[in-house]
């Protein structure tokens, strides 16, 4: 996913100069050592270059193909149209149903992941003993590594039947089920990143609160959480951007019915699920139908990039305040 490079620090291509042979003093560095150092620098530079080039290439392909699409379909029709039927007549290229589906999944996932994730983070950072922490924290990271197809399968075999038991009108493929598993999927991310933010609140601040006869709960919610709010908020945005980009679980569980609806028990389609559908289907390359996926992809890319930039911003502001 190219957008990840936006939030991760870019690898530095230059190792510290003089780290090889510096101890002996400049005069005694052999030509062989210097040559080797140059080679290492060059190799590292190539690695950095490769990742930058890949990102540039992806964005270029997205942009040119999308450009081809927008020569035939007006941007306004795309952005504001309420019907998405690119594969059959009469054809409509309004992306709102797909966007709506994506937003519904993201909001639903947020409703699951944000309260639970924040609760876990508060528990981990303020209440858990160090023994519990050393077990739970790596566990969260492992949980974040479960392949997303497993979540999709979990939605179909567990969550959807449960929903249909509770509300029989629920469709086999429905937004709620997908939103719930995506929520479970991003929960470890919210918990782990919020926990980091909460733990970076200076100890001195907490001590100040305890010394004023605050209870642990009052310290956690009245001082620690407000002080860490920007970091916590950034974790929400980052996790939601992951929910927006999530593909496999929503493709499996939410269905393939692009429609503007507020009912989460209905079948919908997200932007990512649509891209999968066309990519796997037999739509001939070069046609307008085929190009839709680049337009949708560009929109998706823009949204997740914006969300990542926002969360990056927030985190940086937070660091400046406390470090």
């Amino acid at each position: 996913m190219p957008v990840l490079s936006q939030v991760l620090p870019s690898p530095s291509p230059s190792p510290s100069p003089g780290s090889i042979g510096g101890f002996d003093g400049l005069g005694s560095v052999s030509r062989w050592q210097r040559g080797r150092e140059r080679m290492v620098v060059a190799a590292l530079f190539l690695c950095a270059l490769l990742s930058v080039l890949t990102t540039v290439a992806i964005v270029t392909v997205l942009a040119t193909e999308a450009f081809g699409f927008f020569r035939e379909v007006g941007i306004l029709e795309f952005i504001a149209g309420r019907e998405w039927t690119p594969l059959f007549n009469p054809r409509h290229f309004g992306v709102l149903p797909l966007l709506g589906g994506t937003v519904m999944i993201a909001v639903g996932a947020g409703l699951v992941a944000i309260p639970l994730g924040l609760g876990s983070a508060l528990y981990l950072s303020e209440y858990a003993s160090s023994g519990v922490r050393t077990v739970v924290k790596p566990l969260l990271e492992i949980l974040a590594g479960i392949p997303t197809v497993v979540y999709g399968y979990f939605a179909l075999t567990v969550v959807t039947p449960a929903l249909r038991y509770l509300a029989p009108e629920t469709r086999i493929f429905n937004a709620a089920s997908a939103a719930i598993v995506v929520g479970i999927m991003i929960l470890p991310m919210v918990a782990s990143l919020s926990d980091d933010a909460l733990r970076s609140v200076p100890r001195s601040l907490k001590e100040g609160a305890y010394a004023l006869a605050a209870t642990r709960l009052e310290v956690s919610t009245g001082v620690v959480l407000p002080a860490a709010l920007s970091g916590v908020f950034a974790s929400f945005v980052l996790a939601l951007s992951r929910a927006v980009g999530e593909t496999m679980a929503v493709t499996l569980a939410a269905g393939a019915t692009p429609q503007l609806t507020m009912n989460p028990l209905e079948s919908i389609q997200t932007m990512t699920a649509y891209i999968v559908q066309i990519s796997l289907g037999d739509t001939p390359a070069g046609t307008i139908e085929y190009r839709t996926i680049f337009a949708v992809g560009l929109l998706l890319f823009t949204i997740t990039l914006a969300m990542n930039l926002v969360s990056h911003r927030i985190v940086r502001g937070f660091r400046e305040r406390y470090e």
Binding site: E207, G208, A213, G222, R321
Partner: protein, 252 residues
């Protein structure tokens, strides 16, 4: 002169971090409405001893306490003592100013409101800031963040929020060590002023400060109480040669 009443007392108090003792067998009586200074070289256990008096050491999981610490004759470490209630009566100011990232007014009112204060909040804020000699500098910006104040102002804000709880005892752990000389002398003046109304225990490694502000001085070395007595006596006629070396600057 009537012998002053004892507010805080330690009896054979020993405090360990894991296996290593930071405070060893300290017995000490702190008289009411006076300023007691705890002096001694760095790492000798001053902070540990001070933090035992409002049970802040509870927050460190490795700490174990032996002996007694009494507040009005009652053991602080008895099982029925709630440390939160205790801290309503014994406030603390720290080495590094640590105002909350909240407005100046909220810094003051946050804890009293949590602890059942039902009076007028603006009045409490003004009164506390006046007591801490900060009111005139901040009265026009009570809604600004406490973090925007200078270091010396931040420390007075921390004193003000402690006073707002209306405690009996105020513990201060090197409150001026992060401040410039001008801010330091303002806070020293403030302490002298507050001394009549509160029992104050101040940790300092600045001998002049101890001499200027305190009525009693305890000299701690390697976790042990070496000498305790009226400040002028400890400084002019120390009974112990170690104390003498320390207060005359010939230590180590």
């Amino acid at each position: 002169m009537v012998k002053p009443q004892t507010v805080l007392e330690t009896r054979n108090l020993t405090i360990r971090y894991g296996d290593s003792a930071a405070v060893i067998d300290v017995s000490l009586r702190i008289p009411a409405k006076t300023v007691t200074a705890i002096i001694g070289p760095s790492g000798c256990g001053k902070s540990t001893l001070l933090r035992a008096l409002n049970r802040m050491n509870d927050l460190v999981s490795t700490v174990s306490v032996q002996g007694e610490a009494l507040f009005h004759g009652k053991n602080l470490y008895a099982s029925d003592v709630d440390p939160v209630e205790l801290r309503q009566r014994i406030g603390m100011v720290f080495q590094k100013p640590n105002p909350f990232p909240k407005s100046i007014a909220k810094n003051i009112s946050w804890a009293p409101l949590l602890n059942g204060y039902r009076g007028d909040v603006d009045e409490l804020v003004e009164k506390s800031l006046r007591q801490a000699a900060l009111w005139h500098e901040v009265k026009h910006k009570l809604n600004d963040s406490g973090l925007e104040l200078s270091g010396g102002q931040q420390q007075r804000l921390c004193i003000a929020r402690t006073l707002a709880m209306n405690p009996e005892v105020i513990l201060l752990d090197e409150p001026c060590s992060a401040l410039d000389p001008a801010s330091t002398s303002r806070i020293e003046d403030l302490l002298v002023e507050l001394a009549g109304r509160y029992t104050i225990v101040i940790v300092t490694h600045n001998m002049q400060q101890a001499a200027r502000v305190s009525d009693y001085t305890a000299f701690l070395c390697d976790g042990r109480l070496v000498e305790f007595g009226p400040t002028d006596r400890v400084f002019t006629r120390p009974e112990n040669s170690e104390t003498e070396a320390y207060v005359t600057g010939k230590f180590g």
